[in-house]
């Protein structure tokens, strides 16, 4: 094993451990703020994974959109609402056990399927050598405006609808009483 792939493995396992521990922190933390900060560690370690996978643009987008926008929005809402500290075992023990059992079964199924299969040979044209010659942003931008134009336009419509919807939902009605609903 040469030095390059050794470093790659070390970085992978380090950030994989951080990601899994952070994800566990999201489930198990009692305070929503701690859950949100654990989520930040997952986002950042996934950005490191994207760097390992030669997807520099997505790593930056991951940090900016998830760690920058989504997480700040979460923290903002948590701070504004200041909900009562969530009791961890709020669901009954049986419900929790069934949920965990089925999810673990799902994970085992996915892992078993993937490990027993074999990936197809790389037939795409964007090999690491090609990627080194071009700017990553350039390639993604060109694809978004040619081959993937329709999904791109749908995504922009979706964002517009989401902005309008969020504003409508969160707007305080004039003269509305606080407890409109019993």
């Amino acid at each position: 094993m040469d030095l390059g792939s050794l470093t790659e493995s070390i970085v992978f396992y380090l950030f994989a451990a951080i990601a899994v521990l952070g994800a566990l922190g999201v489930v198990m933390a009692r305070s929503p703020v701690r859950s949100a900060l654990s989520l930040a560690s997952v986002f950042i370690s996934l950005a490191a994974m994207y760097v390992l996978l030669n997807a520099g643009f997505l790593a930056v987008a991951q940090i900016m959109i998830y760690a920058g926008a989504v997480l700040i929005l979460f923290l903002f809402v948590i701070m504004v609402l200041n909900p009562r500290v969530d009791v961890l075992g709020a669901r009954t023990g049986t419900q929790t056990l069934i949920a965990i059992a089925f999810t673990v079964a799902l994970a085992v199924l996915i892992i078993a399927t993937v490990s027993s299969g074999q990936i197809a040979p790389a037939t795409g044209k964007f090999t690491p050598e090609v990627l080194a010659d071009f700017q990553h942003v350039e390639i993604i931008g060109a694809l978004l405006f040619s081959e993937f134009l329709l999904p791109f336009e749908i995504a922009s419509m979706l964002l517009l609808v989401a902005i309008v919807g969020a504003m409508t939902l969160a707007r305080r009605e004039k003269g509305a009483h606080k407890n409109i609903e019993g």
């Binding site: 909900p83 990936i119 694809l143």
Partner: protein, 100 residues
Amino acid sequence: MLTVTHYTILSALLFAIGAITVLVRRNPLIMFMGIELMLNAANLAFVAYSHFLSDMGGQVFVFIVLTVAAAEVAVGLALVVAIFRARDNVDVDEIDTLRG
């Protein structure tokens, strides 16, 4: 040597933990975080296969998923704020007014 299986196993683990979060916790904010975890796990699988198949389509798709996640969080948190404003409480099990 890292293979696509390494990344997919990590992705499966993150997805499972996200699903547990959604199923076990009752605070809608934490449940949204679980959904974000699952979306991120799917993104990781997309990018990993995109890298190992030398095809950029997966990475473009991740970009679309990012926008969907942002839209979902904006609308979801607006809903949480609206519910909190109406009843000072955001426990999902107590929001059952629509139950027939």
